[in-house]
């Protein structure tokens, strides 16, 4: 069953808002830079949302009670609801679900409070530690801010979280558990502790001498991902409901597939077996075949392992060489928000018939034989996939089509 996307909201390193974010993507403008908050960490490169001022957006008192991960989500939901022409003051909130993905939850708060705990002991800890840090609070606060009183939850499948959220939200609509779903994902900037953890896994690019070129999916010289922050929101409705209220349908979520590698805590299956299951499940769900796919927004993190395993899987299943793009060349890897932000980019791709370039791709890895454009291509996209794979072996794939 197809579900309509009637609103989009984006807060990404490319900019605040759908227009600024999509401009950065279609122009292939990288965002990675040296991050002074990471001084002393083995990796000091990140992609941050430029000029995000929560005090100005929400008022300082309201902003104080939200971790950055929630602030980014609330800002993106605001834009998505406006885009959808929905007003939370008048809607039937009991029929509105919130399903958001996050990898880490409110880690800025956790780190601040742990430092206080270490320095001054338990009695110095803020009572807002848990309400700001717990991973479910991203959805909880959105439900409060927007009077969304239907089911609300956070999906945590690491770097697949945003995709999982959209897939689960679509299921809720199909099951008639709600009439409107606010779906997507959010991730706040990584703290020195989290960055150090990823660095110790050797997952991050260390291109400190040229940070803008650090996130280079599928490139021969790629050396890891760049961690970023952001939020992406899709407003989903059943097509009949969207049509009944004369909403603008920007795209359709036509299929969802999920699987697990059931193999290793961090390494992908070398031939992408689990990923393939999710891809084929999404296509079956959409009533489509691999040959129908014209565009794939790859997981494409720019780690050696991911890009190789993903490309082997894509080459095997899509011998007709559809366009493949990794928008992470621009945004870096937004972790739990990545799948949501990339689903939004994929909706824009099918709506406008544009395959964006993969930024920083100079020389395609000689072991990778994919059709990856380095400048934007204007051509209709009748069916697209958006892939996300997370540590733990979580695989999630969405099939997205124009209305």
């Amino acid at each position: 069953m197809d579900v309509a996307v009637t609103g989009l909201g984006l807060v990404t390193p490319g900019g605040i808002g759908v227009e600024a974010s999509w401009d950065a993507i279609t122009n292939g403008k990288p965002t990675a830079a040296i991050d002074p908050s990471l001084d002393g960490c083995p990796v000091r490169i990140s992609s941050l949302v430029p000029g995000f001022d929560a005090d100005e957006l929400f008022g300082a008192r309201r902003a104080l009670r939200m971790d950055r991960v929630t602030q980014l989500a609330v800002a993106a939901v605001n834009e998505a609801l406006q885009d959808a022409g929905l007003d939370p003051r008048t809607w039937d909130g009991a029929r509105v679900a919130v399903v958001l993905g996050s990898g880490q939850g409110g880690i800025t708060t956790l780190d601040e409070q742990y430092a206080l705990f270490a320095e001054r002991g338990a009695k110095a800890i803020s009572p807002l530690l848990l309400p700001k840090h717990l991973i479910n609070m991203v959805a909880g606060v959105v439900s409060i801010e927007f009077n969304a009183a239907g089911p609300s939850l956070v999906t945590a499948t690491a770097c697949a979280s945003g995709t999982t959220a959209i897939g689960m939200a679509r299921d809720l609509l199909i099951l008639d558990r709600c009439d409107i779903a606010v779906a997507g994902g959010s991730e706040g900037r990584l703290t020195p502790l989290y960055m150090s953890g990823f660095a110790q896994m050797k997952a991050l690019s260390r291109r400190h001498d040229d940070p803008a070129a650090a996130s280079r999916p599928f490139d021969a010289d790629r050396d890891g991902f760049v961690a970023g922050e952001g939020a992406g929101i899709l407003i989903l409705e059943r097509i009949a409901d969207a049509q009944a209220r004369k909403a603008r349908i920007r795209g359709l979520i036509t299929g969802y597939g999920a699987s697990s590698d059931a193999l290793h805590i961090t390494s992908p299956h070398p031939e992408g077996a689990g990923a393939q299951s999710a891809v084929l499940a999404a296509l079956r769900d959409a009533g489509a075949t691999p040959g129908d796919v014209a565009h794939i927004n790859a997981h494409g993190t720019a780690t050696r392992q991911n890009d190789l395993a993903e490309s082997v899987m894509l080459e095997r299943n899509f011998p007709h060489h559809p366009y493949v793009t990794s928008t992470k060349g621009v945004t870096g890897h937004l972790l739990g928000a990545a799948g949501a932000v990339e689903a939004a980019f994929t909706v824009l791709a099918v709506e406008q018939g544009i395959t964006p370039p993969t930024a920083n791709l100079q020389t395609l890895d000689s072991d990778i034989h994919l059709n990856v454009p380095t400048t934007a291509v204007s051509t209709p996209v009748p069916l697209a996939l958006s892939n996300s794979f997370g540590f733990g072996g979580h695989n999630a794939v969405l099939a997205i089509a124009p209305p």
Binding site: A60, R61, L64, A124, L128, P131
Partner: protein, 76 residues
């Protein structure tokens, strides 16, 4: 002590300066039970005054609370 209290409310709890008045209740300035615990922590860290959230909760207005803070700081 009222000015010091006001300073903590504005700087640390980001309460809008305009709503802070000696006659305002904690409810008037929208401090819930979590915010009152925060206030007690900031009174300790910023003013060195040890006062529990339960004691703050019992005050009828900000002016009343400032009076209690005056007493407490006098006791130090």
């Amino acid at each position: 002590m009222y000015e010091e209290l006001k300073q903590v409310l504005v700087t640390n709890l980001k309460v809008d300066r305009e709503v802070i008045r000696p006659t305002a209740t904690l409810e008037d300035i929208e401090l819930d039970s979590l915010a009152i615990v925060e206030l007690s922590l900031y009174l300790e860290s910023e003013l060195g005054i040890s006062i529990s959230s339960e004691e703050i909760f019992g005050r009828t207005s900000l002016g009343d609370l400032a009076g209690l803070l005056e007493q407490q700081s006098g006791n130090v």
